[in-house]
């Protein structure tokens, strides 16, 4: 009986909330942002999303990596999020209700494999028998396995363990691991501690494995408040423009947001490529409505790779990924 009453009141509340929603102004907007270095930090710090959406409560949630972001999406805890290409491929294949709306960043040496200088690792072959860490399911785990596969090295010949970026820095300082492929800001800590850059995500991009992060919106939100998706994209585009036009001020913002030195922040910024919003509509990136760009190819090859790894049950059709990417918001605001 009590449960019945609860269910009734819940459905009543739901009915109420949907009737309020017809005003098409969300009460609050929750942005899940990845703990890495990109223009979302600028947008957040300057309150650009808030300026676009006066009167709406904006919540920012910091998310450690793609795996956690997928969980947050599956649990319906965010409205906007950011995902690298492997988690995107996973989410889209598993029919998560999300749509890709913009390029957050292209990954260069902001994500990289660091090796312990004293471990004397000169080539990938030298990793055999060593312990290497990467956050599983992320862009870097994907690149690590691809780099090994390209040189015909069996991943079973070394110990590859799953650690989150902050845990990697901790395990590194204890000497538990010899190499790790992960990202800033945690990457900077190990580079200052007997570590050196061995391989970067930018190098892998030039070998045909581009990695990037794409901004996504929950379909539920996009259906209800399409205007607010547009406002969000506009705010993020302003953040990207600010990043490109005011590098010195941006470095200060990044340093403040991530509690880094200005020098570290500047280095990390250079390792990430920001794509101006009009350029995102070209074939190299998302492409345009009716003619999607290379992001679709990357998603397809990522899904195929994950299927081979038995991390995905199937590879979705090209069409699925083309539908996932929605260029219309970018097209509207860059018109």
């Amino acid at each position: 009986m009590k449960i019945m009453r609860k269910a009734l009141s819940a459905s009543l509340l739901f009915a109420l909330s949907t009737s309020i929603a017809q005003a098409e102004v969300p009460e609050e907007v929750t942005v899940g942002y990845l703990n890495l270095v990109n223009a979302q930090l600028v947008t957040k710090s300057l309150g650009l999303v808030q300026k676009e959406m006066p009167g709406v409560k904006i919540n920012y949630i910091k998310v450690g990596g793609g795996g956690d972001m997928l969980r947050a999406i599956a649990g319906d805890q965010i409205d906007f999020g950011g995902l690298g290409n492997p988690p995107t491929a996973i989410g889209v294949t598993r029919d998560l209700p999300i749509t890709g709306i913009m390029v957050l960043n292209m990954l260069d040496y902001v994500e990289a494999m660091a090796v312990r200088t004293s471990a004397n690792i000169k080539k990938l072959e030298d990793l055999k028998g060593k312990t290497i860490a990467a956050p599983f399911g992320s862009t870097t785990h994907y690149l690590l396995l691809n780099a090994l596969a390209d040189e015909g090295i069996d991943p079973a010949s070394m110990k590859i363990i799953d650690l989150r970026p902050n845990d990697i820095a901790l395990a590194w300082s204890r000497g538990d691991i010899d190499a790790a492929w992960f990202w800033e800001p945690a990457l900077g800590k190990v580079l200052n501690d007997d570590g050196n850059l061995f391989m970067t995500s930018g190098i892998m991009a030039s070998r045909g494995y581009p990695t990037w992060d794409v901004g996504v919106v929950m379909d539920r939100f996009a259906e209800k408040y399409p205007d607010y998706v547009e406002k969000f994209v506009r705010a993020e585009c302003k953040g990207i423009d600010y990043w490109l036009n005011n590098p010195a001020d941006t470095a200060k913002i990044i340093a403040k947001e991530l509690e880094l030195s200005l020098e570290d922040a500047t280095r990390m910024m250079k390792g990430t490529e920001m794509v101006p919003c009009p350029k995102q509509l070209t074939q190299q990136y998302i492409g345009e409505t009716g003619k999607k760009g290379q992001f679709v190819d990357t998603l397809l090859s990522t899904a195929t790779f994950l299927k081979d790894q038995k991390r995905l049950p199937k590879v979705p059709t090209r069409d699925t990924f083309e539908t996932f990417l929605d260029a219309s918001y970018l097209e509207t605001i860059t018109k």
């Binding site: 029919d95 845990d167 395990a171 038995k310 991390r311």
Partner: protein, 301 residues
């Protein structure tokens, strides 16, 4: 739930069971010979009200199947029983990320049992000493009371810093989660012993060691066993947390990893395996108690 509460709950449950077992259900004698041969077994099960448990399980399975069959449940969150069975077969035969199901279970059981063994090895003697001696109790109680309510993940961060990402931090976390339950139960067990027994033993010249061996251990045995069961339960609940950091095998790790890739069929399969092995371990402990401490069974009659 604190150790005391769960202890009280368990003992209430067992006394309820006793009541249920004493009641006899009237069943008509079946005429069919085959059924007649099953009769004693069936009667015992029904007297124990086992059929109710079987019905609960059947009902849950049916509800699960029905909800997924009708299409009410999003397969991403609740895959069908057949998908979960399929993943069970796949992982049992081909393995999940380099280890078969048996290896995953084996790795986890090794971690659980090692931690449990050390929790008993430390917890039971410490509990007896704390139960008998007031000074001992005062010395150790603050430590136990302080760390007992700490969330395992908070503790884990520190353990990883101290012991690294290898096996020792995992074992330490499991050990520390199992320890308080058994200590508290043992203290309780020892202090609940009828003081007349102690006086009687003393009057015939028993020394402290004799008392422990002849009075405290046999008298406290059943409650200590309950404490062991609680402790094993706590260790079990922390398993997934312990296997999150830098594991490459283990049933908890499998669940965590599969969740990352949204492989919900593997997640649910792993949880079922975890639950069933947990129940089997608990049954083993109960059986162990019946064999080693037959006097508990005598008291029931």
């Amino acid at each position: 739930m604190t150790g005391y509460e769960s202890l009280r709950k368990l003992s209430q449950e067992s006394s309820l069971n006793n009541l249920a077992e004493n009641k006899t259900t009237v069943l008509d004698k079946p005429t069919n010979a085959f059924l007649a041969s099953l009769y004693p077994f069936m009667k015992k099960q029904i007297d124990n009200k086992r059929h109710l448990s079987v019905m609960t399980i059947l009902f849950l399975f049916f509800a699960w199947w029905f909800v997924t069959f009708i299409g009410w449940a999003n397969p991403l969150f609740l895959p069908s029983p057949s998908a979960v069975t399929q993943s069970f077969v796949d992982v049992a035969v081909d393995g999940y990320q380099g280890s078969t199901l048996l290896e995953h279970v084996g790795t986890s059981l090794y971690r659980i049992l090692t931690a449990f063994f050390f929790a008993c090895l430390v917890g039971i003697p410490l509990g007896i000493l704390m139960g008998i001696s007031h000074s001992f109790h005062q010395v150790f109680n603050p430590i136990i009371e302080f760390y007992r309510p700490l969330p395992p993940l908070g503790l884990y961060t520190l353990l990883v810093m101290w012991l690294g990402i290898g096996e020792s931090s995992k074992l330490a976390l499991l050990f520390l989660s199992g320890l308080p339950g058994i200590i508290i139960a043992t203290i309780q067990a020892v202090s609940d012993i009828n003081p007349n027994y102690v006086r009687a033993a003393r009057s015939v010249g028993a020394k402290r060691w004799d008392l422990i061996r002849e009075v405290y251990l046999p008298g406290a045995g059943p409650t200590i066993l309950t404490g062991m069961r609680i402790s094993l339960g706590f260790i079990y609940t922390v398993l997934v947390a312990a296997e999150i950091v830098a594991a490459t095998a283990g049933i908890g790790w499998m669940i965590w990893d599969a969740a990352k890739f949204l492989l919900s069929d593997v997640v649910i399969m792993g949880l079922i395996v975890l639950g069933v092995t947990g129940m089997l371990l608990d049954l083993t402990l109960k059986l162990f108690g019946k064999i080693v401490m037959p006097w508990t069974a005598v008291r029931k009659m």
